[in-house]
């Protein structure tokens, strides 16, 4: 699924975005994590024929992208990559659900089409929320937030190590894949037999690296416990305002179909 160098670079770039200094970047990560979760829950709680009521939720990614100074094209590209699976399942809807819900002129619109579009919008909204969360918070900060929200420390440490070594190991993987590719002369992929040995080598190197890291940890007095450093993040008034503001907006938008109201006003006042 991941194309060799591309996804790795992508990864690095997303990580770099988190180093920017904007008002949303500076917020306590807990506020952002909780707001994002709330956003996703509100979005997916719409029933399957809903389209218009979901649209106002776009305001959240739009505002964060703007305030967080995130590159629009890049975020969009990342979202487009993940849509296919949801869409593939969604595309079955028009086949199984042919109930006519709407007519435009003589054209029957089946419920399946509507729910399929609904799935598409959900995918865009939820995926953008997740990616933007990382882009304005950074992975280590997210882990820290989750830890403060009672995630077990073992798991938090696991996430940090995983994250730290993704860069090192994917780099190793890329170089190995590259060395192989240069000697295969345009043949696609490689045979499954060679794959075993190639990945085996990679695994051996990984294992040895883990042994060296452990050595380095012991050399610095590691005794089974990772002590976290003091961090100045605190949950202040700005965070409350951010969370409170967005969450109430989400709830309002969830309860009232804003476009419907807006459109109603519009159709009603335009004779």
């Amino acid at each position: 699924m991941l194309a060799i160098d591309g996804s790795f670079l992508d990864f690095k770039q997303l990580d770099l975005l988190a180093l920017r200094q904007t008002p949303v970047h500076r917020l306590d990560p807990r506020a952002k994590v909780l707001t994002t979760l709330c956003f996703i829950i509100c979005v997916v709680s719409f029933d399957r024929y809903q389209i218009s009521a979901m649209l106002p939720f776009l305001i959240y990614p739009a505002v964060l992208m703007a305030v967080g100074d995130l590159p629009f094209g890049y975020i969009m590209r990342k979202i487009v990559i993940v849509i296919p699976f949801a869409l593939m399942i969604g595309l079955f809807n028009p086949i199984f659900d042919r109930q006519v819900l709407m007519q435009i002129g003589s054209l029957d619109i089946w419920g399946g089409w509507i729910s399929c579009i609904s799935i598409l919008i959900r995918a865009i909204l939820t995926a953008s929320a997740a990616i933007i969360l990382v882009a304005i918070t950074g992975f280590p900060a997210i882990c820290e937030a989750l830890e403060k929200l009672k995630m077990p420390q073992t798991f938090a440490v696991q996430l940090l190590f995983l994250y730290r070594y993704i860069f090192v190991l994917t780099d190793e993987g890329v170089r190995t894949a590259r060395a192989r590719q240069l000697r295969t002369f345009g043949k696609r992929g490689l045979g499954i037999r060679h794959f075993g040995s190639l990945v085996g080598h990679l695994l051996l190197r990984t294992w040895e690296r883990a042994e060296r890291i452990h050595m380095a940890m012991l050399a610095r007095g590691f005794a089974g416990e990772i002590h976290s450093t003091r961090r100045q993040s605190h949950f202040g008034r700005t965070e409350l305002l951010f969370m409170g503001g967005w969450i109430s907006l989400f709830i309002l938008l969830r309860l009232y179909n804003a476009p419907q109201l807006l459109g109603g006003l519009f159709t009603g006042t335009m004779p």
Binding site: V63, L159, G200, L203, G224
Partner: protein, 347 residues
Amino acid sequence: MHMADALVSPAVGGAFWAVAAGTIAYCSSRVRKDLDDRKVPLMGVLGAFVFAAQMINFTIPATGSSGHLGGGLLLAILLGPAAAYLTIASVLMVQALFFADGGLLALGCNMFNLGVFPAFIAYPFIYKKLVGREPRQARMVTASIIAAVVALQFGSLGVVLQTVASGVSVLPFNAFLLLMQPIHLGIGVVEGVVTALVVSFIYQARPDILENVLQEKPLGNMPTKSLLAVFLIATVLIGGVLSWFASENPDGLEWSIAKITGSAELPETEYMEHTKLANLQEKTSILPGYALPEENGHSQDAARTATDKRVGTSLSGIIGGTLTLVICTVIGVLLKRRNSANPQQAK
């Protein structure tokens, strides 16, 4: 195959979040008790290894398509169940955040499908049993393939049940099952073969790596049993209830979120929304009840009625939706411009 946020309902997503979080807590305490602090970097680095390995594709014989390592079973073989589950869970979390692969709400579902089955079912009950105390290469190969197939069958069954239970997709249970299980049979065999190849490679190069885990006592069979019972019960309950719903509504049509959650939350909000709207429309709209199809409007179902009502307001929905999009974009652009005009904020 990862379950996606777009297909999951809050109830299903939340339930599996709870299960996954509970399992994480359980496994974390097990790994801590294990007192083998070598595992701290090892788990992390192996998680990263899964990403690295997934970047390397191979050609699946006779098909011409390509695949890559999934890694769940391999991790279980290398680390034992509890550490493997934490590792898989962490991999899924990074995928959800960085690649939006799966999504945050569906994360619990994915941890369940891709973590619990290989670590707590396929590994202890199939792989370990088949390999026995003394690993031998031929046995490890067979055991890996069978274990991987089983893990993936369970996993894809999980995806089917969760999707159908969420009711966002209308794919009928049977059709979905017929679609997913055979595909995952293939994927499972491939995963098994790849795992077997890697495991035999490691067996030749560093047999100690594999023996350590097999000999390992605290993470072996015994303590996982109680946990397994919980999982089995949870699976049977969730699976049973959901598939009952699914077969009850074979075409999945009248089957809405309201029914699954059993709560009045959704219909109520819809009701509020529609009375308000109706009032508004009566006063303002010149197109009341636009385009209401009558031919199958005989359903008594509450959700159905709500649907019909909604349809009546679709024109204003379309207009309002377009306006909303425009407004969101404009706000975004305006904020962005102000932001980039402020030089010390842009880095």
